[in-house]
């Protein structure tokens, strides 16, 4: 076999292994997030939460999964058959696919020496093992592009269901997601300015002395607020405000198709928290530089977990916004603040 074919084959095999790992970790994370969400909610409300299936309710996600698998599928009359099925598939694909550019650890050089320079030449004579599925130089733009595909799935789900609640939920959701996406895009420009790169691994490596959250406190807050809205979390969960819209865009979904929409939501939560960790909280870096390399993914997971906990905490702390206030908050507060943050940061960077 020629060297080119060998390297292609190697890349494919490595990607399949890494991809399976990512999918397994994300799906397990989703399953346990549903449990943790219920536990945290319960504790905040002085209840116990699920504690019947297994010790501390730890087997509850498995029971839920089995139930979803064997549920009858009930689909509404008058639905748009193709779009109705496309929506959950697209939601799940986009949510999982977006995670592929997020590095959870430093590139490890197998059978070679660590070098400096451009990404491709960093590991002369060895095999560079990247800790993400694809180490691409437009990583951040790629993630933003793929996560915005989620808007399609939510709107299509709402429109295709032929239900008024679904339609209203889908409409609200589409308008809300695109409005807050701008806030998120502007907030993420700050770290990009400081790091001078869109490759997420480079961004993390630029934070070795000081995490960007200390240089970009406003950017971090803007991003986190926008991320809450992007993932339809309270206090911005108008798309599925149960008191007025039943369940919003997934009212008419049942069984595993409902499960896929739910999965997309929780995987998106993991993804936005991972992006916040990478861009602002120093990714896999611990507070002390001398910690061993293999601790990286653990630190990464700890930071992501902390952010997810804050999201759940916020859920039971703030009441839901009214819809017009929500949209005005996005356009009149977050967007101008984001622009100002970009300008201030660029003055700092350009003059430095």
């Amino acid at each position: 076999m020629s060297p080119a074919a060998t390297s292609v084959l190697l890349a494919v095999v490595v990607t399949v292994v890494k991809g399976l790992l990512v999918i397994i970790v994300l799906l397990t994370g989703f399953a346990y997030l549903t449990l943790i969400e219920r536990k945290v909610s319960a504790r905040i409300q002085l209840r116990y939460g699920p504690n019947r299936v297994g010790p501390f309710g730890l087997i509850q996600p498995a029971a839920d999964a089995v139930k979803l698998l064997f549920k009858e599928k009930v689909a509404p009359e008058g639905r748009d058959r193709f779009l109705y099925l496309l929506a959950p598939a697209l939601a799940a694909c986009a949510a999982l696919f977006a995670f592929s550019a997020i590095p959870v650890n430093q590139t490890i050089c197998i059978a070679g020496t660590h070098g400096a320079g451009p990404l491709s030449a960093r590991c002369p004579g060895g095999y560079p093992l990247h800790w993400d599925v694809a180490n691409i130089n437009v990583g951040l733009l790629f993630i933003l592009a793929i996560t915005s595909l989620g808007v399609y799935s939510i709107f299509l789900a709402g429109w295709a269901s032929n239900s008024k609640y679904s339609l209203l939920g889908g409409l609200r959701s589409a308008a809300q997601l695109i409005s807050y996406e701008m806030a998120v895009s502007f907030a993420l420009i700050g770290p990009v300015l400081l790091a001078g790169s869109l490759n997420l691994e480079t961004v993390v490596n630029q934070q070795h002395s000081l995490w960007f959250v200390f240089l970009q406190p406003m950017g971090f807050l803007l991003y986190f607020t926008g991320a809450l809205a992007e993932t339809n979390r309270l206090p911005f969960d108008l798309p599925e405000a149960e008191s007025e819209l039943v369940a919003g865009y997934h009212t008419e979904y049942s069984g595993m198709r409902f499960g896929l929409l739910q999965m997309a939501e929780f995987v998106n939560v993991i993804t936005v928290c991972s992006i916040a960790t990478v861009m602002f909280l120093g990714g896999w870096m611990g507070p002390f530089f001398f910690l061993p390399n293999w601790l990286g993914p653990l630190w990464f997971g700890a930071k992501v977990g902390l952010l997810i906990f804050v999201m759940m905490w916020v859920r039971w702390t703030f009441p839901r916004l009214r819809y017009d206030r929500l949209m005005q908050f996005g356009w009149k507060v977050l967007l101008p603040l984001g622009m100002a943050n970009v300008l201030l940061t660029s003055v700092f960077v350009a003059l430095h």
Binding site: A11, V12, L141, A175, S185, I189, D324, V349
Partner: protein, 119 residues
């Protein structure tokens, strides 16, 4: 260069297989007892009064159009943001300040015109 993107293609195939498989495959496992009442879209338990394909507020269209303007702006900022530190320096700062100022004026105009109000 293009080789860096090969993993994305492979992963996309895996993810698509998973999504399509779960959407189409798994529902075959469950029982099927369709009935007319079960198939109706949910509307608080009554028979749906009319179709859900109705007109909706014009503000949603406005939001979509404004989104295109400002999101394209944000995307323009990214390549610039990468280069400010290394090459563009003050020149890039001045140019982008003018660009952002123009869009800030646009936002102010939209704001004053009342396009951001919901009623």
């Amino acid at each position: 260069m293009l080789f860096d993107y090969l993993p994305l293609l492979v992963f996309l195939v895996m993810v698509a297989a998973l999504g399509v498989g779960l959407t189409f495959g798994i529902p075959l496992l469950g029982p099927r007892h369709p009935s007319t009442a079960k198939g109706l879209p949910y509307e608080c338990g009554i028979v749906p009064a009319e179709t859900a394909r109705r007109r909706f507020s014009v503000t949603f269209y406005l939001t979509a159009m404004l989104f295109i303007v400002f999101d394209v702006e944000a995307i323009f900022l990214y390549p610039w943001a990468v280069l400010v530190r290394s090459t563009l320096h003050i020149f890039g700062l001045v140019e982008m300040t003018i660009f952002i100022a123009l869009l800030a004026v646009a936002l102010l105009y939209v704001w004053r015109k009342g396009a951001l109000e919901w009623d």
